[in-house]
Structures are given as C-alpha cells and as structure tokens.
Amino acid sequence: MTGHAEKSAAFVADEDRTHWHDQSLWFVRTKRDRQASAIPEWEALREAASAIKTHTLSRLADYLEEFERNATANGIQVHWARDAAEHNAIVHQILASHGVTHLVKSKSMLTEECHLNPYLEARGIEVTDTDLGERIVQLRKEPPSHIVMPAIHLKREEIGELFHIELGTEKGASDPKYLTEAARGHLRSKFMGAQAGLTGVNFAVAETGGVVVCTNEGNADMGASLPKLHIACMGIEKLIPRAAHLGVFLRLLARSGTGQPITGYTSHFNGPLRGGEMHVVIVDNGRSRILGQEAFRRSLGCIRCGACMNTCPVYRRSGGYSYGYTVPGPIGSILAPQRDPQKYASLPFASSLCGSCTDVCPVKIDLHHQLLAFRKVLVDLKAVPLQKRLSMAVMGFVLSHPSLYRMGGGLMRVIVPRLPRSLVYGSWNPWGIQREIPPMPQQSFRDLIRKEPS
C-alpha cells in the first residue's frame, strides 16, 4: 500500500511547482494573519468557538432533535443517514421522485466523502459542480486537492488548456478574468437548466431549524433559489445551538480560511422557496463513533476552514493528493485513519509535529497532539511498517538503559565512519534517503561536559 511519502514523490520531484504551491498557500496564510491581528478579541473568539463546539458535542443528540423539530416546523423535510450509501440513496430518491435529470451543486465535502457524484451519474443524473475550483477539477475528472481552494494545485495555463477543450475558449488563453467569464457563461446555462440544487452546510442552527451556507461566488444561492427543489447535506457535527453563535463562527471562518473578514454571501435558509421543497440530509458516517473517543473527539469541532492546510509545511510542499483522502492536511490526517486505520496509516506521520496547525485552528483543535496520539494507536494496531516498529522497539530499549546507550554511542563513533556508504545508506535506512548523517564527533557530549571546568 502506498503511503503519503510515496504518493508525494511525483509532486516533490518538480521542484519549481513545489515551491510555487508552497508560496501560493503561504500567501493565504499571511492574509489570515493580517485578519486575525486586526481583531483584538481574536483569542477570546477562538476560546468561545471551541467551548461552543465542546458544549454542543456533549448534547448533540438533544440539539439534533431540536433542530429537526424546528426545521420541520419551517416546512423542511429532514432525513437521517447512517452511512454514505444511505445518504446517496436518500438524495437519489428525492431527485428521482421529482424527475430531476440535471442537478447543480455547490461545495460540499460531505458529498465528496460519500462519492455522491458518481452514484448519481450512474443513475442517469447530470451533476454539475458550480464552484469554479470544483468545476475545474470535475472537468479534469479529479477530486479537489484542497477543501476551500479545490484547484490550488493547478496553474492558469493548465486551466486555460482545459477550458479550451471543454468550453471552447481561445487556445493559449490563460487570463483568470477571461477564463472566469467563460465559466460564468457556461455555468449560468447549467443553472438555468437544472431542476434541483444541492448545497453543503456550513452551520445548522438548532434554535432556528435552518442552515447557513457561505460562498464568495454566489453559486449556492443560484442553485438553492432558482429551482424549486433544494437539498442540503450535512454531517451531524455541523450543528450549533443558537443563531447568536453564528456571530462567533462566521467571524472566524473566512478570516481563518481565505483571509477575508466574511465571505461574499452568507445565506440563511430557514425553509423552502415559495411553492418549492427543501430537504436536509443529516449524515453520521462514522462520526458518532469518533465522539466516543476522548483523544480524538475534538476533531469533530472542525469548521472546514482549511487554515491547517494553508499553514502546514508538509501539505504546502506535498500537495493535497498525497493524502489520498477527501480532506487532506493535518485535520484530514486525523479524520482519515478514523475511517480506515490500515489504509491511511501513513497520514499521522506526514507531519513534523511543529504545531502550526494547532496555532491557527479557529476552534482550537489540538491537531498536532492528536496526530501524535494517533501514531501510538497505529503502532498498537500494528498498522505501522515492521521496520519502523522494530527500530522504535530497539531505540526504546537502548534509551531506557543508560549504560547500554553510552556503550552504543561509543561504538558508533568508532564504527560508523569506517563503514562503506552503501551499508550505512542501505535500503534498511529510509531516514537516509534525503538526509546525511552528521559527521561523528570525537567524543560524546557527556565527555565534553566532564572536561569543562565547573
């Protein structure tokens, strides 16, 4: 099974592109910093957001029932799905019962997680992702490489070539304004022809029984306010208790994610269009199990802003696809192995544990602590390669026996410099693939200290 290091090999082989990707994301991170520092109560906001999430999770079943009651009173039809298969079947059933052949979607990581698009397409429904970045990767038959900026891995020339083939733009044209204008025309015709719109949910409010969707483009509003049928899909963790709490989360979300004080459109859907229907599909898909795990439940507080990706030195240099999961970066590296520890065993190791993700997380998820904790889980599950487990066992034994450590150190200083390079950097030593062992010192630190005049 290929892990993060193998999957990122091709990406990092192109040094210029790696550097460009790194800089693109760092640019967003610096925009975030400017926004955060302009708000004196920033840290209090993060504390409040974290506390609201912790409270909500401690009463999630009650709040979901309250949400359902109020949503139903608003005329919204509420559905419950235990897993991805049930979610997809519910969405398809709603669409099929209305004879929908064309669906427009705005961004929803949940439907990516459930692989809704191929499910619907196999049943004869044309699905159009309408967020520009998502449309670009959909036309390339790729998944998003970032949860907020789906096409962050692509250069304008590649998008120009794609649009030339798919949308008939001029050959060689790569001006973002020109390409966006072409996409606007193309997608407007899709909006005009769709019989239903599907959106994700940024926040669901128990008190009002409504959902809030944030976009910069306005695509969620085109999709949810033109056709008579609106379906909103949400994970159970999207819930917050009161509308007043939106003040806390919306102040943090866009500032953390894209470095804007708020997104262009923040839409509050508390019911269907006049003469239309609105459905909300509430999905568990493994989330309630995470709730039971003390070390990892705080990951359910995530508001999907993407800040941990933008700041992560590993994500910035390895790209979203190296993670092989819908949500990449630090938060994805906790969520993915919850789903399948064997398949995603390498992800918690795709981190330097520098803690930058924890520092920028608007809801104060202890991301790097969870990454470390997950490594222990994976070792216990024997999901980590034997080589790593053995070397760690040897290391653990040596470090817990000081005399053995001193003897080993002395031997190494003498032997290693005399060994042929092919042996020291043999295939047994993956650490040495991109690193050089420093020159062996003449004496140990301990010897040095002894000789120091006190």
Binding site: E41, L45, A51, S58, W80, E181, G247, Y265, T266, G292
Partner: protein, 195 residues
C-alpha cells in the same frame, strides 16, 4: 431500528462529559464605523456612495453608470421605480435572467466586514433576485451601521420558514491561481448607498 434512532442512540452511548456554553463575546467597536465599513467594502470589491437623505437617493443613483445605462432595472426600494421589469408579473424566477440591475434595501450594515443584512421578505416575490442580476445596488440607512457580527445577530428577528442573507461586496472568486476576479456567478458590481 430507523436510522434516526440508530444515530441518536449511538450519540447518546458515546456522549462526552457535560460542558457549559461560554459567556457572550464583546466584539470590536470602531471610532468611525462608517469609515471602517467603507474601507472594508472597498477591499471586498464594492463601492460606497454617501447620500444625504431619501430625497438625495435619485441623484445618487443618477451618478452610478451601471444604473443609468441599464436597460432593465428591478427596484425593491419604495420610491425608486423599476425600469422595463414588472417583478409581480414574473412567475418563474428563471425569467429574471437578463435583468441588469437590482436596487434592494438593506436592513443594516456591519462595519467589521462590510456585510449588509437583507431579510428574505425584502426580496419578495423572488428570493434569487440579488444573485441573478448583473449588478447590485444596496440602499442602507447610514444610522444602521453596527460594529460587529455579534451586534448584528442581536438585531435579527427569525420568523418560521424565512430566508436572510449577508452580502459583502460583489460575487468573486480566486480559484485560478489565487487571482481575485470580480463577477463569478452573481453580481459583477456591488454599490452600497448609505442614506
């Protein structure tokens, strides 16, 4: 067992220890909220126009190029007539396509993020009017600029089966190499007139 019960049961079995809600946050306040609103709106790609009062609205509109040159204008602001559009005669919102400008009243503005709150009932009969038109003009009383979003949510009254939206500037995207482009799906421009 229904999926609903299965999910709720699973949540109750896995319930974490009780934790209380935090105290409300006191948000930032500005010495000059309107100035802050204008600066933030400009960064968001919008334009602020100051008018002295309702009698001045028509002349403020007369200075906005997209308004004067528009073939079709839909106005939801009392006293400002629509042009070549009769919203009440339109049944299907898809027929709103082709309207150049919408003039819409905003309830209040938020200084920290240049968002304007528009309650759904303002948009009657067509919720999509604010996003389907090519250019947006929002008319907001200058006395109704709050400092921050906490104050904003204190003002909002929720009624059953309703809609409401914060709009901050025109439609935009930076999905191609982080280059900001104004006019993604919705309004290509957003002018806020403060009365």
């Amino acid at each position: 067992m229904s999926s609903r019960s299965a999910i709720l049961d699973s949540l109750r079995q896995n319930v974490p220890p009780a934790a209380s809600l935090p105290a409300p946050i006191t948000g930032i306040s500005y010495v000059a909220p309107i100035k802050q609103f204008e600066e933030t709106l400009t960064i968001a790609g919008g334009v602020l126009v100051r008018a002295t009062g309702p009698q001045d609205l028509a002349s403020a509109l007369a200075d906005i190029d997209v308004y004067t040159s528009a073939a079709k204008v839909a106005s939801l602001v009392p006293g400002i007539p629509s042009r070549n559009v009769d919203l009440s005669a339109i049944d299907d919102p898809h027929d709103l396509e082709g309207i150049d400008v919408a003039v819409i009243p905003g309830k209040f503005g938020v200084a920290e993020n240049a968002a304007v709150w528009i309650p759904g009932e303002t948009l009657t009969p067509h919720r999509s009017i604010f996003v389907i038109v090519q250019h947006l003009i929002l008319v907001v009383p200058a006395s109704e600029i709050v400092d921050n979003l906490h104050q904003a949510y204190e003002r909002i009254q929720w009624s059953p089966n309703s809609f409401g939206i914060f709009i901050s500037g025109p439609s935009k995207t930076a999905d191609i190499e982080q280059s900001l482009v104004i006019g993604a799906h919705g309004a290509r421009s957003c002018t806020v007139i403060l009365l």
